[in-house]
């Protein structure tokens, strides 16, 4: 607030400046309402219209009659509880695997000086240069037939969980955070007789709450929003997450029911966002320019 921006406070204080300011402000509010809020409103109310009404031209702004049957039909006909549960299992597992393995690896690379640590870190950072989507096919072939043990992870949540650990961005974020923890804090713990695991658990992790929060949100959102990878690895309809199921079922289902399912699929992430908006927005504003 205090720092001045493009337009000086003096200009804004003048009557003309104030008039322009409020005109622009109103314009932006209207624009945001139309561009970002209206589509959401249209979706939520569209699901409550009758099948005839939703196909009507010109469309009605407010449903003539409010039906909740779209939502209940979507819940039952499209087996949303199962697909939502699949998504929850996949996202939670990926999050836990990432927290455990990425944190441990980042701690080792940051503090335990493993031999060839620099090489390993280089190899991990190099994967940042290889955009994930370009490698989906060979990754799929690997998951379909794991080397040495020749097991297939297809249609198994492990196909989401294990590749999620290979997230160089999150690992690097953690490592950089651990790098900044003052050394004498860790040494004090060691003098008190704490082992490495104990130090990680009771000193490093409690100090790293902000970065763990950011990594957790990234991990959950990434799995919930992903489409191509789960589309490839879950051919079994019963195992599919909501994103894949929505597209697969969208062909032969009534429009109102599909729209209702779309609303239901959006609720968890939107709710997560509204609860943690402050942290998420601060994290994006702060973190993304300096990865």
């Amino acid at each position: 607030m205090s720092t001045r921006t493009l337009v000086s406070p003096a200009t804004l204080a003048r009557p003309r400046g104030r008039a322009v300011y409020w005109t622009v402000f109103t314009g932006v509010v209207v624009l945001f309402a139309i561009a970002f809020l209206f589509p959401v409103y249209w979706m939520v109310t569209g699901a409550m219209k009758s099948p005839d009404e939703v196909a009507k031209t010109p469309p009605t702004l407010v449903p003539e009659q409010w039906h909740l049957s779209g939502y209940s039909d979507a819940w039952d006909l499209m087996q949303l509880p199962r697909h939502l549960w699949n998504t929850v299992v996949q996202a939670t597992g990926a999050w836990l695997f990432q927290l455990v393995f990425c944190t441990a690896a980042a701690y080792a690379l940051s503090r335990l000086k493993p031999a060839f640590g620099k090489v390993i870190l280089g190899g991990i950072l190099a994967t940042l240069m290889v955009p994930a989507q370009a490698l989906v096919v060979p990754k799929y072939l690997t998951v379909a037939d794991l080397p040495l043990i020749h097991t297939s992870l297809l249609n198994d949540p492990l196909a989401i969980w294990l590749p999620a650990v290979a997230n160089a961005f999150n690992l690097y974020l953690l490592k950089r955070f651990f790098d900044q923890i003052p050394r004498d804090v860790l040494e004090a713990a060691e003098i008190d007789g704490a082992g490495k695991l104990r130090t990680l658990w009771s000193i490093v992790l409690p100090m790293s709450r902000p970065v763990l929060g950011v990594v957790s949100i990234f991990a959950l959102v990434a799995v919930w929003q992903d489409f191509l990878w789960p589309l490839m690895v879950f051919s079994d309809t019963g195992k599919q997450p909501i994103s894949v199921a929505l597209v697969q079922l969208s062909q032969n289902i009534q429009l109102t029911v599909l729209i209702a399912a779309m609303v239901i699929a959006s609720i968890p992430m939107v709710a997560l966002f509204l609860v943690f908006q402050r942290h998420i927005i601060a994290g994006i504003s702060a973190g993304s320019t300096k990865g």
Binding site: S8, T127, V211, M232, K290
Partner: protein
């Protein structure tokens, strides 16, 4: 402003000289035990990176030169996969579409968020509201945004044409017309993703020292001149960075064409990643899919390398 507040300053580490713990007992054995422990911590992550990042990268290159069918042993075929893929009429379409998509996304998805951030930064009221609302579409699953816009673009009761009719404009075929399909998808992608870009620009704009604007104004610089000579040079680094990130992201576009147009009409929206998917899962041609992947990999790898190099040098400046 662009640093995480929770990070202690780096100097804190340097101030305290470190005393190495006195070596107790056999130094070699102790070091070995340390190494075993360090690798114990590393192991899980290392296996996952090896299996799902490093191995697939090598494998993409290998399979690109093989005839590969899951279950049977692969055959070396030289560059046959590449020649086959290169002669596929869809190949040209896919690359042309992907590059056009990237370019359009850069023009639309780049100018709009920047202008929006510029205006938002001047507004003194309802700041939190604007930030939440602009980021809302990002949190809606991409599949849902795609299906939502497919409904908007519907030639019958679609909202997009309804809006045009309401404003007495001629209606459009949107995603169903060969010449409008690609731009329709760019609009969807921009709508769905601009929130993050806007927030990052806002953060960059807030880090511009107010004195610069003051000095420019004293020198008689008007609004546009201040934007040109203060705002843009001060945010140049972030602009460049986001541009590259966006190029990398949009060149991997898949969900929107897959869900909204199915690659059509007349291959107008087939993208490279979509073609990779088709080769693997429709034609069962994994060699061709990997040959395409390698081409995409090389191009995107070059952009990513540029991005990483820039972020590195940017950090050195800071």
């Amino acid at each position: 402003m662009t640093k995480t507040a929770a990070r202690p300053p780096a100097e804190a580490i340097a101030v305290h000289p470190v005393q190495a713990p006195p070596p107790a007992g056999g130094r070699g054995r102790r070091r070995l035990a340390d190494q075993v422990r360090a690798y114990g911590f590393l192991l899980g992550g290392l296996i996952c990176f090896a299996l799902f990042s490093w191995y697939p990268a090598i494998r993409a290159v290998v399979i690109a030169f093989q005839k590969y069918t899951p279950g049977s042993s692969p055959e070396w075929v030289g560059t046959a996969n590449f020649t086959r893929v290169l002669h596929d009429p869809e190949f040209t379409a896919a690359w042309r579409n992907t590059l056009t998509f990237t370019l359009l996304a850069l023009l639309i998805g780049f100018a709009i968020p920047f202008l929006l951030a510029l205006v938002l930064n001047e507004l003194r009221h309802a700041k939190a509201f604007f930030r939440v609302v602009v980021y809302l579409p990002v949190m809606i699953p991409p599949v849902v945004s795609a299906l939502l816009w497919k409904w908007f673009y519907d030639p019958g009761a679609g909202l997009a044409n309804e809006a045009l009719r309401f404003s007495h404009l001629p209606t459009s075929n949107w995603s169903n017309g060969a010449d409008t399909a690609l731009i329709s998808l760019v609009i969807v992608a921009t709508w769905a993703n601009m929130g993050g870009t806007v927030l990052i620009y806002l953060a960059a704009l807030q880090s511009i020292p107010g004195e610069l604007y003051e000095a420019a104004e004293l020198d008689g610089a008007g609004l546009l001149q201040r934007i040109r000579h203060v705002t843009i040079p001060q945010t140049r680094f972030v602009i460049l960075m986001l541009m590259l990130l966006q190029i990398i992201a949009t060149m991997q576009v898949f969900t929107e064409p897959f869900v909204i147009t199915g690659g059509g009409p007349e291959n107008a929206t087939v993208t490279v990643l979509y073609l990779i998917y088709k080769y693997a899962f429709l034609y069962n041609d994994f060699g061709g899919a990997c040959a395409l992947s390698v081409m995409l990999l090389v191009l995107l790898g070059a952009f990513s390398a540029l991005y990483l190099r820039l972020t590195r040098s940017g950090e050195d400046d800071a």
